[in-house]
C-alpha cells in the first residue's frame, strides 16, 4: 500500500510519495542521511501559499484541525481518486490527527498519523530545502520567521490601534522637531536680520517671524498697500503698521536677490516644519486617546506620552509602582541623592503636569506624590482593561483638583470610595448603551485591587 505524506511548510503545502519503506524502517540514522532518505521519499507536488496573509490563514486552519478549500483541492488534484464503497489502495500520512480525520470525512482519503509517519515527516522537514529545487534556504527561513511572527500576533489578539511604540516614536520625533525648529528659526532670524534687524524685536513668535520674513521679502518693497495682508498674517493691524514703519527707517543692509531667495526658501522650510509639528502633535493626541485615554485625560497627552516612552511601553509603565512613576525622569538626581544621603527628588517627568505648577511651593511634593499615585492607577486601567473609556481619568483628575483645593483652602475632598462608585456607575451606563462592552467584571476587579485595597492600607498607615 502506497503511503503519501502531507507536509505543511511555511511557504506552502507539499506532497511526498514514500516507497520501499522496509529499507528505512524506523531507523533514525537513515532519516538523517539524505542519500538514503531521498531513495525512499520523492516529492510529488508542491503548492505555494499566495501571500503571507494566505499562509497565516492556512496556518491557523491547520492548528485548529480544519481543512481549507486550498488544501482539499490540492489533495484531490494530486492523489488518486477514491471510488465510493471501495477501499483506497493508498493512505495519506499527516502530522496532525485532527486534520487527518477531517480530511477523511470530507474526501474519503484514508489518513494515518503515527510515530512512523512523524518520523518520516521529521526527515522531510530536515531535508525540505533539498527536495524543492527553486527554494533558497534563506527564503524558507524568512518565510518561517514572518509566519511565526504573524501567527503569534494573531494568537495574542494584537490590536493595530493600540501599539504604544508609535507614541514613543512620535514623542521622540516631537522632541527632535522642537529642537530643530527652534534652531532653524533662530537661523532665519539671524539671517533675515541682516536685512531687517528691527523685525526681530517686533515679532517674537518664531513661526510668525518666518511667515513675515517669507512675505516681506525685500523690505524696501514693503509699503502701506501691504498692511491688510500683513495684518492678516500678524493678526493685529497695529503691529502690521509698526512693521511697515520700521521697514522704511530700517538700518539693515541690502541683500542680493540670490541671498533673498535663499532666505525665503529657508523660511519656507521652517514654516513647513512647524506645520508638520502641529500635525504630528495632533497625531500624538489621537494616538494617546487610543492607547491610554485615561492617562491622557488625567495628566495630558504629552506628559503621558513621555511617561510611556521613558518606561519603554505602556505595560512597563503599568508595572511601575507610583513611587517609581513619581521620579521617572530624574534617575540621575535620585541616585546622586541616594549616594550622598541627601533628599531624593520630589518629581520627575510629572513635574510638567499643570497640577504641580499650580500647587504652592510647600505642597508641590505632596501633590506630586498624589498625582503619581493616580497616574499609576490610570496606567494600569489603560494597559489591562479592554474597554476604551476615559471616565476614570476624568474622575481621578477631579480628585487631584479637589486635593489641590484641600491643600490650598482646606476644602475637604470627596471620599475615594464615592468617586470610584461614581466612575463605575458612569462606565456601566455607557456599557449598557454599548452592549459590546465585555470587560466590566474585569474593570471592577482591577479597581478593587488597585484602588480600594491600596487606599485602605494607606489610610491605615496614616492612622
Amino acid at each position: 500500500m502506497a503511503l503519501h505524506l502531507l507536509f505543511e511548510s511555511a511557504s506552502g503545502y507539499s506532497l511526498f510519495h514514500a516507497y520501499g519503506l522496509d529499507e528505512i524502517g524506523q531507523n533514525t540514522e537513515a532519516v538523517l542521511d539524505l542519500t538514503r532518505f531521498s531513495k525512499v521519499i520523492k516529492l510529488t507536488s508542491f503548492h505555494p501559499f499566495s501571500s503571507a496573509l494566505d499562509a497565516l490563514n492556512q496556518c491557523n486552519a491547520i492548528s485548529e484541525g480544519i481543512m481549507t478549500e486550498e488544501l482539499r483541492n490540492f489533495l484531490e488534484m494530486n492523489l488518486p481518486k477514491v471510488k465510493d464503497g471501495k477501499k483506497a489502495k493508498f493512505s495519506l500520512g499527516v502530522a496532525e490527527p485532527k486534520v487527518g480525520s477531517q480530511v477523511f470525512e470530507v474526501t474519503k482519503i484514508p489518513c494515518q498519523s503515527n510515530e512512523f509517519v512523524l518520523e518520516l515527516l521529521r526527515g522531510v522537514r530536515l531535508h525540505f530545502d533539498r527536495f524543492i529545487k527553486d527554494l533558497k534556504p534563506s527564503d524558507l527561513e524568512k518565510a518561517q520567521l514572518g509566519l511565526g511572527h504573524s501567527y503569534s500576533r494573531a494568537k495574542v489578539k494584537f490590536n493595530v490601534n493600540r501599539v504604544d511604540n508609535m507614541v514613543i516614536q512620535a514623542i521622540f520625533l516631537l522632541d527632535t522637531l522642537d529642537k530643530d525648529i527652534n534652531s532653524f528659526s533662530m537661523r532665519v532670524r539671524e539671517w533675515y536680520s541682516w536685512h531687517f534687524p528691527e523685525l526681530a524685536k517686533i515679532v517674537n513668535d518664531n513661526y510668525l517671524y518666518a511667515k513675515i520674513a517669507k512675505f516681506a521679502e525685500n523690505k524696501s518693497d514693503l509699503s502701506e498697500n501691504h498692511i491688510p495682508e500683513l495684518s492678516e498674517l500678524v493678526g493685529d493691524e497695529e503691529k502690521a503698521k509698526e512693521i511697515v514703519e520700521a521697514a522704511k527707517a530700517s538700518m539693515g543692509q541690502d541683500l542680493s536677490p540670490i541671498d533673498l531667495i535663499n532666505v525665503q526658501q529657508f523660511a519656507q522650510r521652517v514654516i513647513n516644519l512647524s506645520e508638520y509639528r502641529k500635525k504630528l502633535y495632533e497625531y500624538l493626541v489621537t494616538k494617546m486617546n487610543d492607547i491610554a485615554p485615561n492617562l491622557a485625560s488625567l495628566i495630558g497627552e504629552v506628559v503621558g506620552a513621555r511617561l510611556i516612552s521613558h518606561a519603554g511601553s505602556l505595560s512597563n509603565l503599568a508595572k511601575c509602582p507610583s513611587s517609581t512613576l513619581q521620579i521617572l525622569g530624574t534617575e540621575k538626581a535620585l541616585f546622586r541623592a541616594l549616594k550622598t544621603q541627601g533628599n531624593t527628588p520630589k518629581y520627575g517627568l510629572i513635574f510638567h503636569s499643570s497640577f504641580i505648577g499650580r500647587a504652592s511651593a510647600r505642597n508641590k511634593g505632596r501633590i506630586a506624590r498624589y498625582l503619581a499615585n493616580r497616574c499609576s492607577i490610570v496606567s494600569r486601567i489603560d494597559c489591562f482593561s479592554e474597554g476604551n473609556t476615559s471616565v476614570f481619568g476624568q474622575k481621578l483628575r477631579e480628585q487631584v483638583e479637589e486635593r489641590l483645593d484641600f491643600y490650598d483652602k482646606g476644602v475637604a475632598p470627596r471620599k475615594n470610595v464615592d468617586v470610584m462608585k461614581d466612575a463605575i456607575e458612569s462606565v456601566l451606563n455607557v456599557a449598557e448603551k454599548d452592549a459590546g462592552f465585555r470587560t466590566i467584571p474585569f474593570l471592577v476587579y482591577t479597581l478593587d485591587v488597585v484602588c480600594f485595597r491600596r487606599r485602605k492600607s494607606r489610610s491605615w498607615r496614616h492612622n
Binding site: G146, Q169, L173, T176, W191, Q253, F266
Partner: protein
Amino acid sequence: MLVLFETPAGFALFKVLDEGKLDKVEDLWKEFTSAESARKIVKLQAFNKFENTSDALSAATLLIDSKPSKGLRKFLRAHCDGETLAVADSKLGNAIKDKLKIDCLHNNAVMELMRGLRNQLTELISGLAVQDLAPMSLGLSHSLSRYKLKFSPDKVDTMIIQAIGLLDDLDKELNTYAMRVREWYGWHFPELAKIVQDNIQYAKAVKLMGNRTNAVSLDFSEILSDETETELKEAAVISMGTEVSDLDLVNIKELCDQVLALSEYRAQLYDYLKSRMNTIAPNLTALVGELVGACLIAHGGSLLNLAKQPGSTVQILGAEKALFRALKTKHATPKYGLIFHASLVGQAAPKIKGKISRSLAAKTALAIRYDALGDGQDNSMGLENRAKLEARLRVLEGRELGHSAGSTKGKPKIEFYDKDRKKGAGALITPAKTYNSSADLVLSQATDPTPTKPASEQEAAFPKKRKRQETEPTPTEKSTDEALANQAKDEGEKRKKKKKKLTEVDNTDSPISRDEAEEQVKKKKKKIAKVENTDSPIGDPTSRDEAEGQVKKKKKKDSKQEAELVHHPPLEEEPSKKEKKKKKQVEEEQAPGDTIQKKKEKKKKDKAGH
C-alpha cells in the same frame, strides 16, 4: 527769510519771524534754550518727508556733494517764492541760486540759527518725536556709510558662513529624521532597512508603498534598481513586521515628505553656496573648491579676517587642537587642517601630501587676499595658480617615481616601499638606472625594492643607505660611523669569544647585542668566509667597507627573498631565519628603545643556544 534745514526724516523749511535777532550772533543761542522762545523766532513753514531710507540716502548723498536733489528742488519751488533762503552749505546755496533763481544766504548767523534749530528740532516740527527720529537717523547713517564704503551686497560673506553652518546642521538633522523613518517604518517592515541602504531612496520607497502589502503591485523602477526592487517585493510578502493602522502610515509618510523636502532644500542650499562662493571668492574657489573655501571663510570669521592670515596659518586652520597639542608635547605639528579636503591634497600621494598642502596653503593665502582686497572679479589668478600647483604635484610625483625605479607602476606597496625609499633617498646621486629585466617577468616581483645594479654602484650606495636607516629611527644615536665601527669590532671579538663559548648572561644592552651579533656571525660564517679571513683592525675603513659590502650582498639575497613575499609587509610576514637576524641587528642599533620583553626573548634564545 526762510531757513532750509535737512533732517534724516526729510527737509524742513522754517520761517524766521524776527530777523532782527540774527544781528546779535553771540546771543542767538539764548533764544533756543527753551521751546517757547524758539517758537517766537522761527516757525515751521513746510516739511517734506522722505519716503523711505533709500530715498533719504539718495537725497543725503547729493547734499554731501552740494547738489540739490529733485525732491528738494520741487519742494523749494513750491514753498519758496521770492524770499531769501538761508542754507547751511554755501555751495548748495550757489547751486540753488543757479537753478531755481532763489537768493541764498550763508553766514555765521545762519550757522548759529541752524545750531539752535537742531537743538529744538523735535519741538519745532510737530509729529516728529525723538523716538521716530532716532531710528531714521540711525538707518540713514548706516546706509550712508555703507554707500561711502562702496558696499556691495554681492560681497557679503556672512551669508556664506551662515550657509555652511546650516549645511552641517541640515546634514545632521536629515540623518536623524531618516533614522527615525527607518525605525518607525521598521516596525511594519523591518526587512526594508537592510534592502534599501540609502536614506533618500528609503524615504521615497516608503512614501510610494505605504502599507507593505501594496508593494507587489507597485512599480519602483524610478526609485530603485531592478535587483533591489525584486528583493523588496519578495521580502514584502513574507515580512515579519506588524500591521500598522492607516493613521500611523499617514504620519510616517508625512515624515518621509519632510525628509525628502529637507534633502531637496539641502541641494538648493549647496547650489546657493556654490554660486555665492564663485562671486565672493572666485580665486579661492578655483584653488580649493567651494566647500573647503566656505569652511575656511567660516573658520576665519570673514574673508577679510582670513586675508590677514599667513599661509602657514591657513594651512593648519581647523587643526588647532592637534597643533597646540603638538606644540605642548614637542611633537611634529600637523601638516594640514581644513585644507586637507581640497582635491589637490587628495590627489597627492601620502608621502607628498604635506608638501602639496604647504604650497597650496601659500597660494590659497594669496588668492584669499586677492579676493578680499583686489578689484578683479574673475578667477584667472586662482586657475593659474592651480595649474602651477598641479604641475608641482606632477614634478613631485615624478621624483617619487624615479626613486622606485624598478617598479613598473607608480604605486608601490605602501609600507614596504616607504621604508626602502627612506634608505634610498640619500643614495640616489642618481646612478644610471639599468633595466630591471626581472620586473617584467613575474608580476609579484614588480615591486622589488632594490633593483639590480652594478656591484660597484652597490658598494657605493649601500653604506649611505645604511646610514639613513640607522639615523632615522633614533636621531640622537651616536654617529653611524661609530656604530659601524663598533659593529666591526664586535664581529672581531666575537670570533674569538666563539671559541671560548659564552656562559654568562648579562643584563646590560651591549653584551646582549654582542651575543646577537655573534650568533649572526656564526650563521654568516659558513657563507661569507671572506669576512672571517680578513680579520681587520678595528675601524679600518677599507676592510670595513669590504665587510659591509659582503653583508650587503647577503642583504640583497634577503631582500630578494622578501620580494618573493611582496604581499606581506616585512614586519608581518613570518621571516626566514636570516631575516630575523637582520632585523635583530637593526633592533640592536636602536638598543635604547628596546623593550624589556624583547630582551627577555633574546635571553631565552641565548640560553637555548647554549
